[in-house]
Subunit: 530 residues, 2 copies
């Protein structure tokens, strides 16, 4: 169909909940993914790339947050009449991949994968229907050491992208704990257990009193909508809340230099009070406190595993501030069977209502021993971690981390003389060879519009060679960043024209050196592109 047969103009727009990313955001996202991939590689994880489309039945219905009604996957029928779906996470395709290649894979099998996932759901502020994740998973071992490795990997990944120690925490619990609590307080109905789990998962958002209502009769929100509760009795609710907010002994001192020491360690006496930033409970004491609450076997088993994870993290040099046992972590996904993790950024940021809030979750994961079993008929232990790349990008933008590695915009070579394209192209090549991004202006507009173009591109400099310059064997290099700065301090057009600030006319063969010093003045080294 040519445009001439097209009677009406088309609407140039994207469907709701989909967006474009351009320029620095794409570069920064790529840099983040590269940094996290580097950490995964160093841990021995191998990259995998599965296609976006899978058989619908292979993906299954392991969707998170099933209480949102529009939650769903994008599905379609292909020419073979098969139902295909766009992946909604990177875990379901991994389960299919492992089942399909089970005998050929070394086990335990560690893989990482990054890429977009799709949700056919109602979009909202900050909630998109296509977004990028990066996941690391270990399949084929039930060892808590694999879970501990996930937590350490997550901490290393956050630091690799520029989140400072102290600005994040990997919170860890186990699905077995809540299972054991529910067994102990006599909640046996599967639906009621699910309702309790979802209520607990909202602790961060609703606070302890909100969760109390949802565990009991129910809760009316600000808009007046009523959510039915789990219907637990007073006593059961108290036991559950005690579990979620146990009284930990405070036995750790966090020092101004970042060290964490036990309050009974010999050093303690030598530390002046004003160097103690915070006191908190150690993972060991958290676990000891939790031990006292319930006797159910899954509960105590879960604590054993958390103990192993905490010990391994501890001896590997991760403090409680980085990897922290916290019984209130639930994670919405029903398929978790053991330890669950949540990566939270702890610095504060203005919330939607103006109050400062913690930045919050940028990823999470856990152990899911049943997922591969859908294909193989028997459990295959597996554990994994997923990072939400858009959330992390937003966090780094908030911290100003992207600024630091910004790439210089290209130097623009103005096309002053239409017949001199060859010479302009040669300049661009010389600059590129010296590691400078460079482009020739390829439009047909005059000098003024070309300068405006260069400004719009954010070009640090332009190179000007009109016919007079060419005859004289010279070029003019104009420093646009310095020019912009000076333009504030120069009063008249006359002054500007006569002084020609921030520009330099040099011999043609000095062009590359002159541009390089101009870039160096503004902190840009050579090195074109990414």
């Amino acid at each position: 169909m040519s445009k001439r047969e097209q009677p009406n103009r088309l609407r140039a727009a994207l469907p709701r909940g989909l967006r474009d990313a351009a320029g620095e955001e794409v570069r920064a996202t790529r840099a983040m993914l590269d940094a996290i991939a580097g950490v995964c590689e160093s841990y021995g994880f191998e990259p995998l790339a599965t296609p976006a489309l899978e058989f619908t039945e292979a993906l299954g219905k392991f969707l998170p947050d099933q209480d949102r009604p529009n939650e769903g996957v994008f599905s379609l029928r292909d020419d073979d009449g098969e139902w295909l779906s766009l992946r909604y996470d990177l875990t379901a395709p991994l389960a299919r991949y492992v089942a399909e290649n089970f005998d050929a894979l070394p086990k335990p099998f560690r893989r990482y994968q990054s890429g977009p996932v799709w949700r056919n759901e109602k979009p909202g502020p900050g909630r998109f229907r296509e977004f990028v994740q990066i996941d690391a998973d270990t399949v084929g071992t039930a060892s808590p050491a694999a879970d501990a490795e996930m937590c350490m990997l997550a901490a290393d990944a956050l630091e690799a992208v520029g989140i400072a120690r102290g600005d994040y925490v990997i919170r860890v619990s186990s699905r077995k704990l809540l299972d054991g609590v529910l067994d102990s307080i006599g909640v046996t109905d599967a639906r009621q257990r699910l309702t309790v789990m979802r209520a607990v998962d909202k602790l961060d958002r609703l606070g302890i009193e909100g969760v109390r209502l949802l565990l009991g009769a129910g809760r009316k929100d600000e808009s007046g909508d009523f959510t039915r509760g789990a219907g637990l009795g007073e006593n059961e609710i108290e036991l559950l809340l005690d579990f979620l907010q146990p009284q930990f002994p405070i036995d750790l001192l966090v020092l101004a230099d970042g060290r964490v020491i036990h309050e009974q360690s010999p050093e303690t006496d030598e530390i002046p009070d004003n160097e103690i930033v915070e006191k908190c409970g150690s993972n060991r004491s958290t676990i000891a406190s939790l031990r006292e609450l319930f006797d159910a076997k899954p509960y105590q088993d879960g604590l054993d595993e958390l103990g192993e994870i905490a010990d391994l993290a501890g001896v590997s040099g991760y403090s409680q501030l980085q990897i922290c046992i916290d019984p209130s972590v639930v994670r919405g996904l029903e398929y978790y069977t053991g330890p669950v993790f949540e990566a939270e950024l702890t610095f504060e940021t203005p919330g939607e209502d103006g109050r400062t809030v913690r930045f919050g979750s940028v990823g999470g994961g856990g152990r899911y021993d049943g997922l591969v079993a859908r294909f193989r008929g028997q459990d295959v232990p597996a554990t994994g971690f997923s990072v939400g790349v858009s959330r992390l990008y937003a966090a780094l933008a908030h911290l100003g981390r992207h600024e630091a590695r910004k790439v210089a915009a290209p130097v623009v070579i103005l096309a002053m003389d239409p017949d001199a394209q060859a010479g302009y192209q040669a300049m661009a090549r010389e600059l590129r060879a010296a590691g400078v991004r460079a482009e020739v202006y390829l439009g047909t507009s005059g000098m003024r519009a070309q300068m405006k173009y260069a400004d719009r591109r954010g070009a640090p400099a332009v190179v000007i060679e009109g016919s007079i310059e060419r005859e004289g064997g010279v070029v003019t290099v104009k420093d646009l960043i310095e020019g912009e700065r000076l333009s504030g301090s120069i009063d008249s057009r006359e002054e500007w024209t006569s002084e020609r600030p921030a520009q330099e006319t040099v011999r043609r063969e000095k062009m590359v050196d002159t541009v390089l010093s101009c870039l160096a003045r503004h902190g840009f080294g050579p090195g074109a592109g990414s």
Copy 2:
């Protein structure tokens, strides 16, 4: 749905025409995309990432090869009742993006984008329903300098990923030439013109005699299927074939050192005959020969543009062997309006029938001034180039280029003693800190299975610390690559056991150094991961 409710096991498989990529392929593909992105950045192109899904009507029906019946896009209806489609290329989304952001974009607008595209078509050998492309496009200038830049960028991109000069050629023609030829020989019917264009596009595959049949009554293929031809007369066919294979004067000498000189240049006399590798026609003489064939205005205009492109490429240092004017280039896409490009790899490779054939096309592009007009109601000049990443990956694999930059598999720390996980994790951390990929074996199997695991992983070395080593403060580093080599030359189990070749027991604190020298012996420097 838990696995217990799942009555039948699911089939672990991918739909036809979809595939997984793992390990080295993913790394090599990422390295290729990074290298090409680097070239795009150096030319001043900005990255863009559009979503996979667009409104179906926004993508339009600019599909290539419309004579394949199952050709199509994957489309679905979302919860809003809107028809969405997966992009089938990166050009249609760019047209939407430019139209949507027209006023905000600096013009000319240069962007590059990489990512998967989808085709709902019958898959075949080497033909997939999801594959990765990387595209560069310049929107907003009609200047042939922009087309020349595309060709130079494509040449630089191929060299950046490791295709040597001489192993590729960017072939260039213009849609205006064929248009002018058809005007001149009186083919005015739109359908007949399309049939001619498709016949010409098959020159590479069918040869000149095959095309002759398709231009006339038609052609019966090997399977007996008959394709109706364009129905041109003898005379018209001869004129067309003269155009496709004009007799060029041979005026260039290609020398053994890679230089290309004109046969009338003063140097020619000094060149011994055995240093002349090849003789060919120059772009200039090709264009001069073509000038004589037809007078039609679009034809002569097309040659003017090709002349500009050839001249700019020439003065920028690209020889005819890199960027070559060739009237037989057509490209299937109907939307091209001017110059068209084809990136072809010229080295030979075994074909499907055993005969050696040229590797062939890995990308192409051209000028499409009408695509943005679908949204804006007026033409916006644009030109672009697309590289097929899977084809390029296959080409580099054929050339052995991926081998050169292979990343070492991780060193495996054997878990000899279940209680010593903490110590093993510490070793892994030390190795990672020294830039070595390292992992602790996390399964429950014994020594023999652990060694088999390490072999399967391709580990260059394992680190062994059993309880005896630990008490002695030592570890054993086993060089698996050397061990594999030696295992061929050692005859008996006794000899092996007593000599313990390719392994070294060292003090624990020497572990990192010992592993580093082992890796260095096999050419692997430090630097974990990508």
